[in-house]
């Protein structure tokens, strides 16, 4: 290989260089801006992570698997995964191999950005083909073919998305269309350019036959320069359109992985970490099919992908509309190939909307009811005789209860925290306390006469400050009870207790887990007499707390467990979610029906769930019995 063009320059590289310069400057400024938006504490965290070998290893692995190979999409759909991986990985390899070639053959041109990109134009093949040369020719053609096959699939997907496992796909915006057109044309043009030049610069299994083919009816040399011009222009245009298109995810995603692995979280809806997430969205549209709201076509524009698009465009009205409507079921987050925490961004957005609302929770700290409230003292104020401080009375009573009732000491007992919603589903409480009794579990009922809300609903509404007061109150209650284990019936409570409460040393379990343990320890025995059933994964229990196995384990011992259309992390929200602020009852009903349809696809006799909210929501609309896991267990306990 020798340099063919003296000076190593031709005018056609200008479009490419302009685009390249633009994108470098743009990215540099964006990076600086982003860093200034990250809280100083997080910034330090980030830089520290870059010298931590453990995190560094994870960074590399994640970038390779997620950004280049798109493993997550492969898992979802092979063809779709291949499409993404072939373009990303193929292109990446073309760049890498291109550089290696340059280093090997024309080291004097090192540092010229455009040189490896247009390598075949600037060099000519001399003498016979060496094995080494043939190897590189093969590699370049191989990866080019790989990318081309990906591009071909992408084109096919545009018109028949279902073939790639997607019922609906994203509607591209204008910049997307420009970038897409460029992207689609870059590699065919490169193929043409390299093919026309293959007579001079050489080629392999792809470019050589093309050269011969074209040579039969075209005068190839006349086409060399124009095709290189076209190739360079397509690249340049692509770079110019990049920041305004979905392809911005290519440079951002890798950076997001670094930030995420450093342990950063969303603080503001539009700045800092969130911005990195926003620009990492490839608009792949997987979240469109994931969203339970999209059972109705009118809700399509409320999918997370559009939420992020509107965030990029600063369209506040739309941003608010979507963030207020979202169910926060977390399915789009669970399925997102980039792992964008859109629910977190939505919560941050809600905080901007509702943070100025003032609540007054002083009553939480008052021992006595205010004169205008109906005579309801805080539960247990009677027990608080002698305690001068108003705070702590609630917990004091529970503590007293824990010590007085039964034989065991407080630390041996479990604290049962039913939660607000569970009080609307007395069957859960009744059956669970039945299980407590059958298993000989000593328990203290934390909120028998109703307690204080756990705070999760406030957090979901973006009112995190307000939630802190509530959290402090409940933390005190739980700590003062002396119990070392808390059993909860409501997954909403469980999630917030796990994530936001400081309850070190206290085990927090959902009653599903608790029942599973009882069964494993043989403290209760059940008979397989429950018939056939299907299990609905409550969003907050499954995607929220990662509890998938325990309920299935319990239910398998009770009867025939049937499959639902969507299971595990893909299970569909019941529609009753507290997450959505604006979704009205009619639309929620549609979601419920959709979710029920997916659950009953194999015609189970019963629908089992583990969340009072799901239970109540389904019970209104289901055509067969809906019950909590506690109920079906309690009803099938064998008498000893």
């Amino acid at each position: 290989m020798r340099e063919r063009i003296a000076g190593g320059y031709d005018d056609f590289v200008i479009p490419f260089m302009v685009g390249m310069a633009f994108i470098f400057i743009y990215l540099f400024i964006a990076l600086i801006r982003l860093f200034t938006h990250i809280p100083p504490k997080d910034r330090i965290k980030f830089f520290k992570s870059l010298v931590n070998p453990k995190i560094l290893y994870k960074d590399c692995r994640d970038i390779l698997l997620d950004c280049l190979l798109h493993v997550k999409i492969f898992k979802r759909n092979l063809l779709l995964g291949y499409m993404h991986a072939s373009i990303a990985f193929g292109w990446f390899m073309l760049i890498v191999v291109g550089h290696i070639e340059m280093w090997l053959y024309v080291p004097q041109r090192n540092g010229l950005l455009y040189y490896p990109v247009f390598f075949r134009y600037f060099v000519k093949q001399e003498g016979d083909l060496t094995i080494k040369g043939a190897f590189f020719f093969f590699l370049m053609d191989f990866f080019l073919l790989m990318v081309l096959s990906g591009v071909g699939l992408a084109m096919y997907k545009r018109f028949r998305s279902t073939a790639l496992g997607m019922r609906r796909t994203t509607k591209p915006c204008f910049a997307d269309r420009v970038a897409l057109a460029c992207l689609w044309s870059i590699f065919p043009l490169r193929l043409l350019a390299e093919s026309f030049t293959a007579g001079i610069a050489g080629g392999s299994f792809l470019t050589k036959p093309m050269y011969w083919l074209f040579n039969n009816f075209l005068s190839n040399d006349a086409h060399i320069l124009p095709t290189w011009w076209a190739y360079s222009t397509a690249l340049g245009l692509f770079f110019l359109a990049l920041p305004f298109s979905r392809y911005m995810h290519i440079p951002t995603e890798a950076f997001l992985i670094l930030l995420r692995n450093a342990g950063l979280k969303v603080t503001k809806p539009r700045k800092g970490f969130a911005e990195a997430e926003i620009y990492s969205c490839s608009s792949c549209g997987i979240c469109i099919d994931a969203c339970p709201m999209n059972i109705q076509k009118k809700n399509l524009p409320f999918s997370s992908v559009y939420f992020i698009r509107f965030l990029r465009r600063h369209n506040t009205r739309k941003i608010n509309q979507i963030s207020d409507k979202c169910l926060m079921c977390g399915k789009c987050v669970a399925l997102c190939p980039v792992g964008i925490e859109s629910c977190g961004i939505k919560r941050a957005q809600r905080a901007t909307l509702y943070n100025d609302i003032k609540h007054d929770y002083t009553y939480l700290h008052q021992a006595h009811h205010t004169p205008d409230s109906p005579a309801h003292p805080l539960p247990g104020t009677q027990a608080a005789t002698g305690t001068s401080a108003a705070t702590g009375t609630l917990s004091a009573s529970v503590q007293a209860d824990a010590k007085l009732s039964g034989r065991g000491t407080a630390s041996e007992k479990v604290l049962y925290f039913a939660g607000c919603m569970t009080h609307l589903t007395p069957s859960v409480i009744k059956n669970l306390t039945g299980i407590f009794e059958s298993s000989g579990t000593e328990y203290v009922f934390a909120d028998k006469d109703g307690g204080v809300c756990c705070g999760r609903p406030l957090i979901l509404a973006g009112r995190e400050d307000a939630a802190k007061e509530v959290i402090a109150r409940n933390t005190e209650l739980i700590r003062n009870s002396g119990c070392k284990k808390v059993v909860l019936s409501c997954p909403i409570c469980l999630k917030v207790l796990k994530e936001e409460y400081n309850l070190k040393g206290i085990e927090l379990v959902h009653h599903t887990q608790f029942i599973n343990t009882l069964l494993e320890q043989g403290k209760i025995k059940v008979s397989p007499t429950a018939g056939s059933m299907v299990y609905h994964n409550p969003c907050e229990l499954g995607r929220g707390c990662g509890i998938y196995k325990e309920p299935l384990n319990v239910l398998q011992q009770l009867g025939e467990l049937k499959k639902a259309a969507k299971e595990g992390k893909e299970s569909i929200c019941c529609g009753g979610s507290l997450g959505s602020l604006t979704l009205n009852y009619e639309d929620r009903g549609k979601i419920t029906q959709g979710s029920l349809a997916a659950l009953t696809i194999n015609d189970p006799q019963k629908i089992i769930t583990a969340c009072p909210l799901c239970l109540k929501t389904f019970a209104d609309k289901a055509d067969r019995p809906v019950m909590d896991i506690a109920q079906i267990v309690n009803e099938n306990i064998c008498q000893k």
């Binding site: 609540h359 109906p374 609307l424 109703g450 609903p457 507290l578």
Partner: protein, 107 residues
């Protein structure tokens, strides 16, 4: 009290002529469910916060309709947004959104 030892006592009357219609229209636009209440009181009866302090969706809606905006805020400021009222409302009013919208519009 002045020189007489007594003064005009403020009217306790609700004066519908003085209702802030612009704000109410804004609220209706944000959450039209506010119009659906039939004053059954289920929300108030089930309220988690209502156990401790007078908290009532029904009373708040009524107070707004009567132009007693401050009363409405007072009926809602203790709300924990737990959502029980949404579950029990026979008219399926989206109470949580209504509550935060009222607080947002009128506070």
């Amino acid at each position: 009290m002045g020189k007489f030892g007594f003064a005009l006592s403020p009217s306790s009357r609700i004066n519908l002529d003085e209702v802030d219609k612009v704000k109410f229209a804004k609220l209706v636009e944000i959450e039209p469910d506010v119009l659906k209440c039939m004053a059954c009181g289920s929300c108030t009866a089930s309220c988690t916060a209502g156990k401790f302090v007078k908290t009532s969706m029904r009373s708040a809606i009524l107070a707004l309709q009567n132009g007693k905006n401050e009363d409405a805020i007072n009926f809602l400021k203790g709300c924990l947004l737990c959502g029980k009222c949404t579950m029990v409302c026979p008219r399926a009013i989206n109470t949580r959104h209504l509550i935060i919208s009222i607080l947002k519009v009128y506070q």
